[in-house]
């Protein structure tokens, strides 16, 4: 299973490079978002997920909840149609695939796929554009609400087409993420009920 995950991560890791400058307007927008993102201590949000995959006859809906606590604690859980998820505290994590499942522990340094996923979640939540720029070319599609298109650089383009991230009007958090794959499949995640800098229970992590 380790090699299996390793393979996956390698495929993902093929996204190298640095972002090109996208103009002064985008820079000022990103700076503003980054400044707001830097003030986030905790974040919790419900999300709904829509998967448009050719391997399924119909769109696959799902829902779940997301938690973040500065600097590196995450919890991502699906609550329907299946129960699964993972929690991460620094490098150490635990994942589960059904309700009541004690799950299995993992070390993020040995789970490249989880590492990538976690880094992406952290980057979006903290509006860490410096990091995102190293892996994507960014374009500002819309200023209000801020909508960015992220094109992976290099060979990853053979796998992932682009990401589209929409921020809330306030700019304080991400409201929607779309992951577009080559061949037309895509996943849309919409965040709602987002609470920023509210107490988050310790036991969640």
């Amino acid at each position: 299973m380790k090699l299996f995950r390793l393979f996956l991560v390698l495929t993902v890791l093929i996204w190298p490079g640095t972002a090109l400058a996208a103009g002064a307007d985008m820079d000022s927008v990103l700076n503003r978002l980054q400044e707001i993102g830097g003030r986030i201590e905790t974040l919790s949000s419900d999300f709904s997920q829509e998967k448009y995959l050719s391997v399924f006859q119909e769109m696959l809906p799902a829902a779940g909840r997301f938690y973040y606590r500065k600097p590196d604690q995450l919890r991502w859980e699906l609550t329907s149609p299946v129960t699964s998820g993972f929690v991460l505290k620094g490098k150490q994590g635990r994942r589960w695939s059904q309700a009541g499942d004690a799950g299995e522990r993992f070390d993020i340094s040995r789970e490249p796929v989880m590492k990538i996923v976690a880094e992406q979640l952290l980057a979006w939540t903290r509006a860490d554009f410096d990091r995102l720029r190293t892996e994507y070319d960014m374009r500002l599609l819309k200023e209000s609400p801020v909508t960015l298109r992220l094109d992976p650089k290099g060979g990853a383009a053979g796998f992932l087409d682009y990401l589209q991230i929409t921020f809330a009007e306030s700019g304080g958090h991400v409201q929607q993420v779309e992951v577009h794959e080559k061949g037309g499949d895509f996943t849309r995640i919409i965040f709602h009920g987002t609470a920023i800098n509210q107490p988050v229970a310790d036991e969640l992590f």
């Binding site: 699964s84 695939s97 040995r110």
Partner: protein, 788 residues
Amino acid sequence: MNVSAVVAFLYRYFGSRRIFLLLVTIGVIGAGLLGFRSLTMQENIAAMLPDGGRVAEDFRLLQQAPFANKMVITVSAKGEMESGDLVSATKILADSLDADLFTDVGSGPDERLQREILPWLLAVLPNLATEEDLSLLESQLDAAGVKARMEETYRSLIGLEGWALKGLIRQDPLGLHRLALEKMRHLNLVPGARLVEGYFFSPDGRSVLLVAETPVPMTDSAGAEKLLVAFEQAARMLPDTVEARLVSGHRYTAANAQAIQGDLWRILSVSILALAALFLIFLRSARAIFVFLIPVSVVCLAATAVGLVYREVSAVTIGFGAVLLGIAVDFGLHVYFALRRGQGDAATLVGKVSRPILFGGLTTIAAFSVLLFSDLPGQRQLALFSVTGIGAALILALVVLPHLLPVGARPQESVRVSSPCGRRRVILSIWVILLIFGAWQAGRVDFNGDLRSMSLVPKDLAADEAKAQQTWGKVRGHAMIWSLGEDLDQALTVNDGVFRKLSGHPSVDSLVSLATLLPPRAVQEENRRRWREFWTGPKGEEILTAMEVQASQLGFSSGAFSPFYAMLEKSPLSVTPDSLQDVGLADMVSSLVADFDDGRVGVLSLVPETLAGLEAIEEALEGLEGARIVAQGRFAQDVSASIQYDFTRFILSAGLVVILALAILFRRPRKILAALVPVVTGLVMMLGIMGALGMTFNLFNIVAAILVIGLGVDYGIFMVFRQCEGLDRSTESAVLVSGLTTLAGFGALVLATHPALHSIGVTVLLGIGAAIPAALLVIPALIREPVR
């Protein structure tokens, strides 16, 4: 005409033709020097191992061990450190290493392996899945099992990381990759490593493994030092929080070369001082220097003779031979003392001393001839070298040297060794007591055949070796099981048999083998046939039907798993070493598959080396033709047994030859036994003291023991001649001085830090140290002929 008359005649004959004699001598020695310069030396310890039989083959097979010829570099964090930072430091080191000296620097599997291995494994799985695998599938993939796996597939796709898994899930909805990955389980050459960011990390996450190759031969001491300097330079580029350690045979080579260089200065200084003192006390003549030129001259002649017979000359042999030619200096000393202190004309004096010299020399030659029949090619060369060298030394000492030495200039001033009756009893009593003690303790000496014990292992290198082993496991300490065949497929067939017998064996904790990934052709064909039958048979159809039902219930589209169905219908190509290399397993193939010079192919399996384990493995593999177990520890035992056998054989044979020669010379048992006193005393005391001090006897001790035998016999012959045949008192001086020069020259090696040189020094010091007093005191005490 007897020997003395011939030698006296030759002296007179060349007396008027000295210039001609010297020119011819210089010409011959010059030719020897030229021949010596053109020799091809081989610095390989293999020359000192038997060139036939099991030990020789084991030695060749041991050279093929994975990592045996590679450099292992451990990059470690000195404190807590993020894995990414350690990887960055490792990259800095790898980039800083001199690319000409460090080739193929890498850590972790080949990049292609990480990218391609899983799809490839799934594609070739029909070749690899055994009957047991299919039984396992059958039991796991019942209706409930299929349902569970399809739901897992569904969950994976719906999860956050699903987009990354989609391609593989379409190819493998039933999770057959679990079976495929099992085939890789036996390929872990580094038991202590885990893979992080494409690098081999230690279990504690604080060290990264780098493996490098180099064009510098392991025996090239100058190249090894250059390599280590380059490594240190590169290591200086690392941040202060990171350190790097290199473990490789080159460090041994460099350390040994440095130790020998350091030893040589110290030993040469001591030897030169001691020889100078002996020169001033006993010789005091500028022309006595010619005595010491004899061994130097004959080394070139003897080495050239070996070069004419053997294609490659072992440097080890020549080194040993040069030591043994210490015998040669004694002939010159006897001639010197006879001429310098004898009374009468020079021809008569030379003729008179020629008998014991010639007999001593011929006895030594006879003893060395025994080595011509040794199993060790190096010892055969050594025999030829010594026989030729001693022959040449005899000629130089008896024919040429007398014309270069002063005659009759010094008065008799021998060492007083005459033995009054009471004193004789005391001498003999002490001698007997010492002999009994020596014989008693000699039984405690163990033979040590471990080649590593004959080289120097500095403390820092031993510590680095231990640390590497602690960090990565015994990457270089596995026992090897070679599956040998006339061609690759035959070797793979044997390897398959080895795997079947050892996999799951209670004595085999871990097994490194290619068998699961590279079965022989016939097994792959059989596996494919069985795989096809399984999926087209009732069980396969049942699984596929259950899968379709589940897919439909979970909402998968009709073409969702078309890559999986295509894989089931397609007959895959066989797995070959080339296909393994193509997916990034080239290192594994080159480590575990070897083509030998004799055309055979060997496939290697590795198991942990424990004594009990080896015995159990041997038992398990009994009757499996072509399987051969080679283990470093057992190899050392075999070499040890071989050395012991060789030593015993040599001592007995040489002893017989020497006794025969003495019998021809003296014809009286009393004289024969008396002549053997120095040899027996030297050997018994040498072994006895070594036994009492808990020292072991190695290859180098054997060769040095031959020196003790050769010199001891000479001392005996001279002293018996001295007592019975009318030689004058200068004989005692000659025996004493020749013994002391030997101690000064070779006994001084005991001061060496290098184990090999030290071993020679110990043997000579103890053996000759006992033989000299035995010759000078015991023989006169035993033979009570009147002293003239």
